[in-house]
C-alpha cells in the first residue's frame, strides 16, 4: 500500500461538528504496532468536545486499539508501541513527563464486558474518588456516589441496596454502574469500548439514552459494531478498515452519502 491509501476522506470537509465544537483530542500521524505488526496506519483525527464520536468498522480494524491509545491502556501490553502525536487539550499524552495515572483520571473508560469490582455498589462508585482524594469526608463521598449514580440513571434502581454486591446486578445495570464509576472521578473524556455488545436491546436503549443525556458535559467516544447505534447516538462517525481510518464525517452525512466505496459497502452491509 502506498501512502495515498492511508489518506482519510472527510465528509463533508471539514465535518460540521468539528468546526462547531472546540477540539478535545487531536491525533496526528499515529501508528500503533504490536511487536512487528502494524495495527494502525498513519492516523490523523480531531475529536470534538461535548459531542459523541463513534468509531465503526469490521473486527480487527484497529478501532479499539486506537481507543485504548487515548488513555494509554495499551501501556499494559508490553509489545505495544505508539508513534505520532496524540494530544488532549493540546497536551501531548505520550510526553515523558506526563503522569499516566492522572491522565486516566481525566479520561474514563467503559469496557466491552461490564466489569464491576466484586464489592458493594457503593464501593464500586466510591473507589475512584477515594484513590484520587476527591471527597472531603463521608457525607461528601455519599454525595458524589449519589450524584454519579443519578447521572448514570441507576439511582432509582439501587438506592435501597447500595451495600449489596455490584456483581449481583443485571448486565445492563452493571454497565450503567461502570459508567457511574467512570463519571464519579469527574473525567473530561469517556471512552466506551463496545459498551452494549453484551446487553439485550432494552438495556442497550437505556445506555444509548444515557449517552445522549450526558454528552453535553463530556467528550464521549464510542466504539461500536452496530451501525444503527452509531447512527442513533453519535455526532461524528469515523470508519476504520484494516488499520486505516478511511473516512470521517458528520454522522447524518456519512450514513447517507459516504464518499469512499469501502465505507459505502460496510454501511450497506456488503461486508464486515
Amino acid at each position: 500500500m502506498n501512502d495515498m491509501s492511508f489518506k482519510t476522506l472527510q465528509t463533508p470537509s471539514p465535518p460540521k461538528i468539528i468546526t462547531e465544537r472546540p477540539a478535545k483530542i487531536t491525533a496526528e500521524n499515529v501508528d500503533v504496532f504490536y511487536g512487528e505488526k502494524r495495527a494502525i496506519h498513519n492516523l490523523s483525527l480531531t475529536i470534538p468536545d461535548r459531542a459523541v464520536s463513534a468509531f465503526i468498522g469490521p473486527s480487527g480494524c484497529g478501532k479499539s486499539t486506537f481507543l485504548r491509545t487515548i488513555n494509554r491502556m495499551n501501556d499494559t501490553i508490553p509489545s505495544c508501541r505508539v508513534t505520532g502525536d496524540i494530544k488532549v487539550d493540546r497536551e501531548d499524552i505520550y510526553a515523558r513527563e506526563l503522569d499516566v495515572v492522572e491522565l486516566r483520571a481525566r479520561i474514563g473508560m467503559v469496557f466491552q464486558k461490564p466489569n464491576p469490582f466484586p464489592k458493594s455498589i457503593f464501593e464500586n462508585v466510591a473507589y475512584g474518588p477515594r484513590i484520587h482524594g476527591l471527597s472531603k469526608d463521608k457525607t461528601d463521598m455519599e454525595r458524589i456516589v449519589t450524584e454519579s449514580l443519578k447521572k448514570a440513571g441507576l439511582w432509582e434502581e439501587v438506592k435501597d441496596r447500595l451495600q449489596q454486591p455490584g456483581t449481583g446486578l443485571s448486565g445492563g445495570q452493571q454497565q450503567r454502574l461502570c459508567i457511574a464509576r467512570a463519571i464519579a472521578v469527574n473525567p473530561e473524556v469517556i471512552l466506551m469500548d463496545e459498551p452494549c455488545s453484551a446487553l439485550d436491546p432494552i438495556a442497550t436503549a437505556r445506555i444509548e439514552e444515557l449517552i445522549h443525556e450526558i454528552k453535553e458535559n463530556f467528550c464521549i467516544i464510542i466504539v461500536t459494531h452496530s451501525m444503527q447505534q452509531a447512527a442513533r447516538v453519535s455526532d461524528l462517525t469515523a470508519f476504520f478498515h484494516l488499520g486505516v481510518l478511511v473516512e470521517v464525517g458528520d454522522t447524518d452525512v456519512i450514513f447517507t452519502t459516504p464518499q469512499d466505496k469501502r465505507t459505502q459497502d460496510y454501511i450497506t452491509g456488503r461486508f464486515g
Binding site: 486516566r104 483520571a105 467503559v110 469496557f111 469490582f117 484513590i131
Partner: protein, 407 residues
C-alpha cells in the same frame, strides 16, 4: 442397525468407567478405614493407666518437716510397696519387686507431702504408678519382660482390689521421657506449633511478595524465565537437601541455635516457599484481567490495582497453596534431622529459640525404641499429628470460604 450397536457400546463403556471409578473410591476408603482403625486401636493404651492405691506412713525420720523437699520419698514409697508383699524377703527379690513400679512413682507422694506438710508422721493414701511393663500386663497386653513371679505379684495385688484403672491426660501434659509410662507428646506438639508458626511467618509474606512481583511487576525476559524454571525445580527437590542447606546456612553460617523451632521453621519455610509461590502465581493469574483494567481505567496506579483488587481476589487461592505447603511442612521429618531436631529433649519448649522436637520426629524416635509400651505412644502421637493437620486444614477451609463470600 450399526447405529444401535454403537450406542449400546457407548453406554456399556460408560457403565464400565463408572464401575471402575466406584471401585477406586471403595479401595481408597477401605485403606483409609483400615489405617485409622489400626492406629486408633493401637493408641488406646496410651490414654489409660493403672494405679495402685497405697497407704504410706510418712516417717518423720525420712522426711524432715522443716525441709520437705529433701525427703527420701523414694525410700518411703519402696518401703510401703514392699510392705504389700510380706512374703518377699530376700534382697534380690525386693529389687525385682521394685522393678514393677515406675521410676517416677514417688513424685505423687512428694507432691502430696509438699502440698500439705502437716501429714508428716501420719498415714496417707497415694496413687502408685506402675512401670510400663506392669501397666501393659494389667491392661491385658503382651509384655515380654515380665516373668512368672512378676505376674504372680501383680495377680496378688489385683486380688487385693487396690488397682484402679482410668483415663490419663499425662500423655498430653508430659514431655518426652526414657520411661514409656512417663513419655508424653506435649514437647513435640508445642515444638511443632512453634515451628509451623515460624514457617508461616517467613514463607507466606516472602512467597506472596515473590509471586506478586513475578506475575505483576517483573519484566518478561530471560532472567525471569530462568527464575521461574528454578522455582518449579525447587518444588521437586528432595526435602533432605533443604535440611543440609539449613545446616550450612542457618547453623554454620549465621550461628543460630541448634535443634530449635526457629531453625526448623526457617528450613521448612525454604521447603514450602516454591509451593506457595507457584500456587500464589496461579491464583493471581486467575483473577480476570478485566478487574485490573477497571481499576486502571478509573486512574488507579498499577500498585493500587494490584493491592486493592487483584490480591484480595487471589487470596483464597493463595491460602489453598499455603495450606498445602504447611501441611507438607508439618509432616516433614528428614530436613529436621539434619539440623538436630532429633535430639532427645524432655523439656517442653518455651519459645522458638529453645531446643525442641516436632511430632513426626517424635513418632520416628518412639517407633525406634524397644520398649513395648512405646508402640501405643507412637500410635497416639500419629493420631495427634493427624488431628493437628485436620485442625489446620479446617481452619484454612473456613478462612477460604470466609474470604470467598465477599463476592
Amino acid at each position: 442397525m450399526t447405529k444401535t450397536i454403537s450406542t449400546a457400546q457407548r453406554y456399556s463403556s460408560e457403565r464400565r468407567f463408572k464401575a471402575l471409578g466406584l471401585a477406586a473410591i471403595l479401595i481408597t476408603a477401605a485403606f483409609l478405614a483400615f489405617l485409622l482403625t489400626d492406629i486408633v486401636g493401637k493408641a488406646i493404651p496410651a490414654f489409660t493407666t493403672n494405679a495402685a492405691t497405697l497407704k504410706v506412713t510418712v516417717d518423720p525420720t525420712l522426711v524432715d518437716a522443716a525441709n520437705p523437699k529433701a525427703g527420701d520419698y523414694q525410700g518411703l514409697l519402696k518401703k510401703a510397696w514392699q510392705a504389700q508383699f510380706p512374703a518377699v524377703t530376700s534382697r534380690g527379690d525386693k529389687k525385682k519387686l521394685n522393678g514393677l513400679i515406675s521410676a517416677r512413682a514417688a513424685d505423687a507422694l512428694q507432691d502430696a507431702v509438699e502440698a500439705d506438710p502437716s501429714v508428716i508422721g501420719k498415714e496417707i493414701t497415694v496413687p502408685l504408678a506402675f512401670s510400663s511393663e506392669a501397666d501393659l500386663y494389667l491392661k491385658g497386653l503382651r509384655s515380654d519382660t515380665l516373668d512368672e513371679r512378676d505376674v504372680a505379684w501383680l495377680e496378688e495385688l489385683k486380688a487385693k482390689g487396690v488397682i484402679t484403672s482410668g483415663f490419663t491426660t499425662s500423655f498430653f501434659t508430659n514431655g518426652d521421657s526414657r520411661e514409656p509410662e512417663n513419655a508424653g507428646i506435649r514437647g513435640a506438639l508445642i515444638g511443632s506449633i512453634f515451628t509451623i508458626l515460624v514457617t508461616l511467618a517467613v514463607s507466606l509474606p516472602l512467597g506472596v511478595a515473590a509471586a506478586l512481583y513475578l506475575e505483576e511487576f517483573a519484566p518478561k525476559n530471560r532472567i525471569t524465565d530462568l527464575i521461574e524454571v528454578n522455582i518449579n525445580n525447587l518444588a521437586a527437590v528432595p526435602s533432605i537437601i533443604f535440611g543440609l542447606l539449613g545446616l550450612a546456612v542457618f547453623l554454620n553460617g549465621f550461628g543460630l541455635p541448634r535443634s530449635t523451632a526457629l531453625v526448623g521453621g526457617l528450613v521448612l519455610a525454604l521447603l514450602v516457599l516454591p509451593t506457595i509461590i507457584i500456587a500464589s502465581r496461579a491464583a493471581i493469574r486467575s483473577v480476570p484481567p478485566s478487574i485490573k483494567e477497571a481499576a486502571l481505567g478509573v486512574g488507579a496506579s498499577h500498585q493500587q490495582a494490584v493491592f486493592h483488587h487483584v490480591l484480595p481476589l487471589a487470596f483464597p487461592g493463595i491460602l489453598t497453596g499455603t495450606i498445602l505447603g504447611v501441611s507438607r511442612a508439618l509432616g516433614e521429618t528428614a530436613p529436621l534431622l539434619m539440623i538436630g531436631m532429633i535430639a532427645f529433649i524432655a523439656d517442653v519448649p518455651g519459645g522458638i529459640t529453645d531446643s525442641a522436637t516436632v511430632l513426626p520426629v517424635q513418632v520416628f524416635l518412639w517407633s525406634d525404641l524397644p520398649e513395648e509400651a512405646f508402640k501405643a505412644r507412637t500410635a497416639a502421637a500419629i493420631l495427634v499429628l493427624l488431628a493437628l493437620l485436620f485442625c489446620i486444614n479446617a481452619l484454612a477451609i473456613y478462612m477460604r470460604n470466609k474470604f470467598e463470600r465477599r463476592w
